[in-house]
Amino acid sequence: MKYLIIILTLIASAMAQAEIAVIVSSDSPITAADVKALERVYLGKANQIDGKDVEVINQGDGEAVTTEFNRVVLNKSNSQVKAYWSKLVFTGKGSPPNTVNNDAEVIAAVKADPRLVGYIDSAAVTPDVKVVATLK
């Protein structure tokens, strides 16, 4: 029984981890963002969501939330995302979003700049940021 509880807890935490929250500052004019709009800004094809200027931040490749975000929003594996950006970087057509290390740094960055959009594990959401999309 004890093991069952541990296993269930692990499964529950794994499931919780799979949920991503896309966050902005509580001062941001953006209220919601759909997957298409997020894909465009995260691939550098647009710099607006709902007509509002945005800048996006990434998390490192080693974070589970990054792999999940790339899969769900960009429909690409981490290495496909890297290949996509290397093509643009080495032809002078664009540069990838800035990367921070973890959920806490995304929250700190978003709070400091109302133009920023980031993604975190939904379990890490704090009351002082605004969630504009929840993705599984």
Binding site: N47, G62, N78, K82, S86, K87, V89, G92, K93
Partner: protein, 397 residues
Amino acid sequence: MKLMYPKKLLMGLMFFLPSICFAEITWNGFLSVGGGIADADEGDELAGYEDVATFQQDSVLGLQASTDINDHVSVTVQILANGANGFDPQVTWANVNYQFSNDLAFKLGRYQTPLYLYSDFLDVGYAYHWISPPSEVYLGAGSTQDGIELIYQKSFGDAYFTGQFFYGGASEIVESSGVDLSVDSRKRGGFAVSMVYDWLTVRAGAQSTETSIEGYSDIALPGVGSVGGLIATLNSLPVGLVGTGAQNTAEILAFQEDEFVYSSLSIKAELGQFLVVTEFTDLAVDDSPAAEQQSWYVSGGYSFGDWMIHLTHSETDNEAPDLTSDIPVIPTVTDGLIALIDGFTAATAIDQKTNSIGVRWDFTSGVAIKAEYSDIDADNTPASSGNLFRVAIDAVF
């Protein structure tokens, strides 16, 4: 291949150095280490590989530094050391970029010409699935030029448009038939437009140049010594006997300001785990000793986890120029020359087909390992047929 004007360009960039020194520089790089072994049907070389394993042909190191001078102006410099050229470092990108708006940018300086789909990042192996894109289309299709380029990128609903419009010139040294040829492309202008819609990418491009080759007359030919000797012989034939055809041929053999027109069309589909990409290219020339070329490939890949397996078929069909139809056949006067010229032009035309199977394994972030087996079938010399096995590690950092 050796670029002619790096000093001039670097001096131009020195002008910007005072501001660069205090700006934040972004460094990016790519590295490929490749090796292979060939089993050629004739001779001992195939696509730059031999019957013992060698590690230079597909090895390349690129370093790129870029910096934003202000909100609109940025500077990018890329240095490339290519194993096929003995790792002699060259400046492949060195330009000032002016960003007019989010959609429109203007580059001045040196940049890689976006001739075909993979041309402007041909050296960045990490960015595609092969060890190198099919040689039938891409041999000589990655080239840097000095000039201007306008880049327009914009989303239209779910479609994303990229347009590149360029004009400039390039000068490079190419070793061929044991002679150093200085290939000078002037008035090199063209465009590449692409539209990405969800899983589908469609791209079209065209480019024209005026190409002259210095050193072409030094290419050795039996009987007359060299192409230069052939030109002199043709010009010495009495017009009363052979008409003006011989002189016209002599003029064409000088290889001066020949118009080359390149065009291409490609379609790429990235559907879930499947990738299909195909490209058709055409080189048209007039009054030139160069062959006309029609080439294409189709490649399909399937990804599972960190692995991808892919199959490719590629072909090039060349048409040798006819430089002798206007010269009357006169025994002992022109018949030997005609045979010589026809043999020389026939050697510029290569018909070749390749079937390849390959794998890519993305074994850690930013590093891919690839292996590829190719069966090359060339119809005529100097190209050779045979089998080629290659492995490579591609990284970006």
